[in-house]
């Protein structure tokens, strides 16, 4: 029996180690980001909430400043780290944007812990590669919620602060349910509190939170905006349709559903919030295997059948819904939000150049705009 026990322990140890190594590597894998011409400094989010310091939830804030003073905007990506079009858009902006007027804050890994988490039960890939002219650029595929390694245990029910609304237990680790947050709450409330402090102390005018949503979910392919942002959102929606030929309708931010960035940023600061949703077929439930191909090209035969049966909320055909298209939508809609805000507030303008729009991204692919970290000045390379 003792010999059998030793054999069983050995087998269990081997299987555990084989499973643990890829998870450990994924959690500690660093994505290089080359700071572009407009990046003047890189700060830590913990500057605005010291409780984050030294935790995996602390994250980089890239500050891109223009020569002319103007307004300020914050771009958030990876609030949900399994919706990576936002992350690619943020990295593209950091590496390429030139700020003519105003200041742009970019947080590429807003939920940094979720970006190092995965969902083995759903068969998520650990990484995905974006082809570039200098080889594949590898990104971590994250999860919707922060890792329990940062915040554990979950409560039976998450009681939102300060509205006391009862939310799913999982939402205590979801940084799009913990707004506006608090300094002495769970760690993810600390993350959103730090962002609120950034918005309030730096007097940020516009906040854009980039997401992805299932094609079977009604709130997809849209801009979610509260009443105070709805005029700009409507103009943006009409302009991208007329000028660039893609749909992005406006969804009103529900007044009684709490914890979401588009609700609480508007209610607890002077900032105009916008949440962008680009369709991501990978997240739909009735698809084939959750492969990297599905993540990048969005092609799935089951969704195609559902589209023919008119069960989807977006147009869907054999071309799928590729990543380049999703990043293109985020880029164009973000640039258009800033343009419309600048038109209404010229003294607080936020003017960017050097960022490709929808048609260029669909034509060239997002990888065309990533810079080779091996050839960049080492001081300009940051690891996310």
């Amino acid at each position: 029996m003792t010999r059998l026990k030793i054999v069983l322990i050995f087998i269990a140890a081997v299987l555990t180690t084989l499973g643990a190594i890829p998870l450990y590597r994924h959690r500690h894998y660093q994505v290089p980001v080359v700071a572009g011409p407009a990046v003047t400094r890189v700060e830590k989010l913990s500057r605005f909430a010291p409780g984050l310091k030294g935790t995996m939830a602390d994250t980089d804030v890239f500050v891109l400043e223009g020569a002319r003073p103007g307004g300020k905007a914050l771009l958030l990506a990876n609030t949900h780290a399994n919706e990576p079009a936002g992350l690619l858009t943020a990295v593209l902006m950091i590496e390429n944007a030139v700020v003519e007027q105003g200041t742009l804050y970019v947080i590429p890994e807003f939920n940094a812990s979720a970006g190092r988490n995965t969902k083995p039960g759903d068969g998520y890939p650990l990484y995905f590669d974006i082809p570039t002219e200098w080889g594949p650029k590898r990104f971590r595929m994250g999860n919707r919620d922060a890792s329990p390694l940062e915040q554990w245990p979950d409560p039976d029910v998450y009681i939102h602060f300060p509205e006391k609304q009862l939310l799913s237990f999982l939402d205590v680790r979801n940084t799009n349910r913990t707004w506006p947050g608090r300094a002495d709450g769970p760690l993810m409330e600390n993350v959103t509190f730090a962002a609120m402090e950034l918005l309030r102390s730096e007097k940020v005018d516009v906040a854009i939170d980039m997401h992805g949503a299932e094609t079977m979910f009604p709130v997809t392919n849209c801009i979610v905006a509260p009443l105070k942002s709805s005029k700009i959102a409507t103009l943006v929606s009409m302009n991208v349709k007329a000028m660039e030929g893609f749909d992005n309708h406006v969804e009103p931010s529900p007044a009684n559903f709490h914890g979401l960035s588009h609700r609480e940023i508007g209610d607890f600061s002077d900032t105009l919030p916008f949440l962008l949703e680009a369709p991501i077929p990978f997240l739909d439930q009735p698809t084939g295997p959750k492969t990297v191909d599905l993540l990048l090209d969005g092609k799935d035969p089951f969704l195609l059948s559902l589209s023919r049966a008119k069960k989807l909320f977006v147009p869907y055909d054999e071309s799928g819904w590729p990543m380049d298209k999703r990043v293109g939508q985020h880029c164009s809609v973000s640039l258009e939000i800033l343009r419309q805000f600048t038109k209404k507030n010229p003294e607080k303008g936020i003017v960017l150049s050097g960022v490709p729009r929808y048609a260029e991204l669909v034509k060239n692919g997002v990888g065309r705009y990533f810079h080779d970290p091996a050839k960049a000045d080492p001081k300009s390379v940051h690891f996310e």
Binding site: M1, L4, K5, L8, I9, A12, L15, T16, G19, A20, L23, Y24, R27, P148, L149, Q151, W152, P153, P186
Partner: protein, 51 residues
């Protein structure tokens, strides 16, 4: 790390010790040995802060 999180790690270590004791004491049932090891895997991964 919050106090409640430290308590949960201590609980995990306690359960790991109890299960390891059960594994050592088990003399006949191979199924129980395998099941005990399977239950131990997520506890060990959490204690080692891997998953």
């Amino acid at each position: 790390m919050s106090v409640i999180m430290i308590v949960y790690y201590l609980l995990s270590i306690y359960l790991t010790v109890v299960l390891a004791g059960n594994f050592i004491r088990e003399k006949k049932n191979v199924n129980d040995l395998i099941l005990t090891l399977l239950v131990l895997i997520p506890l060990i991964l959490r204690i080692l802060r891997v998953k």
